[in-house]
Symmetry: C2
Subunit: 442 residues, 2 copies
């Protein structure tokens, strides 16, 4: 039978990558006086994303790579808790949203359209109605198949009044949404805490410090929820975090008179701002009852499932990690989602050290063969540019490591400069030391 003969383990050449750099957002929909976040500015200027319409971005090839890595982390953690991936249509019949009342309660943020027969559809911001009606339609699903955990990673839509900060608050975005179905509230709470563990794994793997807080249920509804935040100055949520026990709450949950002392341990509470990147909800039967989302119980009877729903905003994470880690005009990517882990830069064409160019391909080949780097090495082969110019661009794009093959590669024991962009440290290493170091970093 036909076998895949393609192995993707090779290095990439920057000259071939579509990364239109140093662009200012040109879209006329962006007003000149609108606040722009650091992530928005840097992701656009480094050619990772591109504004296409007001609040809508294209993920360019580097952005697509980051998205793919986030998806992989999420897929693995979802599979590890037994969740199954599917794809629901992006269009959901408005009839379902009318049954739950969200057709009216969501307001102008809901994008909708009519088809040629004047039937109304929602351009779904979330899929509680859609997934619950799926459960209804496949009845009888036995109690033996519970807990059922179904998720998707798809584009979602929200007609923000004021889209801003680039991928932080846009109108079309990529979200992972998971829905769980259980027999009882007690079992739904068990599932809920299992998923929260998976969320901790996801955010730990992304590798950027996060804060989990008791959350606001908002328009989704349900009995309780938690939010996952990245602390950032531009964050739109205000959180109260205890200095002592790390207990944290979204301030929206509290009454007007905010108590600045932790109820749990008595320590002082600090007010910080956060970007919400994940949200978990225990929904109860809010959706399954009106929509008839039932499983077949032990007595063979239909019974409304106890649901949970759980979101991670992938495109928002992409921008929020930049807000957290980046302090200058150089992006800092967390290791696990960097578009490439290593950028190798050789001498300029016609320069005195041009003879060492052969080291570039050699290093690219050796590094690509190390576990953890298979598809993650890029060579900036634009040899008409100086080393300095290319190092600047590589720093700006935020590759965790930059390897420079320059003058010192001509020495008897060739030495290569290794730059660690997160700590802004650099040193010269021999071939052997370089490989050993990179193996240790993986």
């Amino acid at each position: 039978m036909y076998q895949s003969i393609h192995r993707l383990y090779h290095h990439h050449c920057l000259s071939k990558i579509f990364q239109p750099v140093n662009l200012k957002p040109k879209d006329s929909n962006v007003k000149k006086d609108e606040p722009m976040s650091l992530s928005q500015k840097l992701l656009v200027e480094t050619g990772i994303i591109s504004l296409r319409s007001n609040g809508m971005f294209a993920l360019l090839p580097l952005g697509q790579r980051i998205l793919k890595k986030l998806m992989m982390i999420i897929d693995e953690e979802m599979i590890s808790v037994g969740a199954q991936r599917l794809t629901l249509p992006l269009l959901t019949s408005a009839d379902l949203w009318k049954i739950t009342g969200r057709w009216n309660s969501t307001g102008q943020e809901l994008l909708s359209l009519q088809d040629r027969h004047n039937r109304e559809y929602v351009l779904s911001p979330t899929h509680e109605e859609a997934i619950t009606s799926l459960l209804r339609d496949v009845y009888p699903l036995s109690f033996r198949q519970l807990p059922l955990k179904l998720y998707q990673i798809t584009s979602k839509f929200r007609d923000e009044m004021k889209p801003r900060f680039g991928l932080i608050r846009c109108r079309e975005f990529v979200m992972k949404d998971l829905y769980t179905f259980d027999e009882s509230e007690a079992k739904a709470i068990e599932t809920y805490s299992e998923i929260c563990n998976a969320y901790d794994n996801i955010f730990q793997r992304i590798g950027v410090p996060y804060i989990k807080v008791a959350g606001d249920c908002g328009n989704i509804g349900g009995s309780f929820s938690h939010e996952y935040h990245y602390q950032a100055a531009i964050g739109e949520d205000t959180l109260l975090v205890c200095h002592g026990c790390q207990e944290a709450t979204n301030i929206q949950l509290l009454s007007d008179s905010v108590n600045a002392v932790c109820s749990k341990c008595g320590s002082d509470m600090a007010t910080i701002t956060g970007i919400e990147v994940g949200h978990t909800f225990l929904l109860g039967t809010k959706y399954s009852e009106p929509l008839g989302g039932c499983y077949q119980n032990k007595r063979g009877k239909p019974e409304a499932a106890h649901m949970g729903c759980y979101g991670v905003g992938l495109t928002r994470v992409m921008a929020a990690v930049v807000e957290v880690l980046t302090t200058s005009d150089n992006i800092i990517w967390p290791w696990e989602i960097a578009p490439f882990k290593v950028c190798i830069i050789g001498p300029k064409e016609g320069s005195l050290e041009a003879g060492v160019t052969r080291w570039v391909n050699h290093l690219a080949k050796v590094l690509s063969s190390l576990p953890g780097y298979e598809d993650d090495i890029v060579v900036d082969d634009r040899h008409r540019l100086t080393i300095g110019k290319r190092v600047l661009e590589a720093r700006r794009t935020g590759y965790p490591y930059i390897v420079v093959v320059g003058k010192k590669a001509q020495e008897d024991v060739p030495m290569f400069e290794l730059i660690h962009t997160m700590t802004d440290e650099s040193c010269y290493l021999s071939h052997h030391m370089l490989i050993t170091h990179m193996r240790g970093a993986a």
Copy 2:
């Protein structure tokens, strides 16, 4: 740094898979007298897809697995011709479609909406306008970076007057769309033929016989095009194929008086019906001129790029391969995109041969460790059902191989039944012979 500790190489358990079987399409939008295709019936009844609204389907977990495998084939073949993946917004500003005239010419198939500020957007069926305006906005892109090949795999929308045959003609579907940009018509033709080679690779890897025909440019426009078809009775395109030289044409290209003799070799031509699953177009400057999609030429001046566009309908392929290969009520999947390659079935609980159940997990473990089967083994662990019932279901779902651990596994040299569903052959093999056979099949 945090390391991925999750390996996905383990077997799956059918009891945990959300596969609601034996369902009839219930959606009230499906009229009782509407023609239903075999693929539509079987994909729904085996719980691979589910009709959600008129012409809109959910891909359930097995369908999602098939989609993922198709994506992998396409990603590999696209990368091998240097194409880069990105994601454009699904919503495209109607202004762009007005510039090219397609806002009016597309007619009622175009789904569109207005946002809260009454700005119009297209729910994109295809992205020529969007990608060309991207090229315009990133100017100056140097001639050195051409040919530029950008693709995406995303949901597309078409408000079909009569959605039918399930995934064959639906209103929301998954498509790979590639766009290429070249300096001249001559170079664009070179790129075109390179992409056609990649398409041949894609369809050869999928493994179902296909027909490449000179095509109709339709509403996309351009100077010439080719179509990739699967021959099937329900196909909506009529093709004229030469018995001698295999030259083929879409009948839409011909004048009224169809010549039944091949112009190339003089042989008789046969009329067949095909399902279009891929389409390639040489566009010229049809989009780049009105939209200003220019690169910077050798003299530093803007010049309209010569474009090509190339589509593969992934969800349509899923259904069309079923139409081609399936002759009974049992789906036949091509090897490379089967939801699982092997289904292992053990004895019923409490049956005389229940003692051999230990072989089930053993075989699952050994087979999962063979190259090519890492994530592709499923165990039907619903041991309350008879072997016979589960074999029937496995045949119906279309796993290429079924391994039955039954009575003969009790013998001194345990024997396992191996069923090859495509040829409907079966035989009893020892442990060693079974593993050797499966290694050979990969």
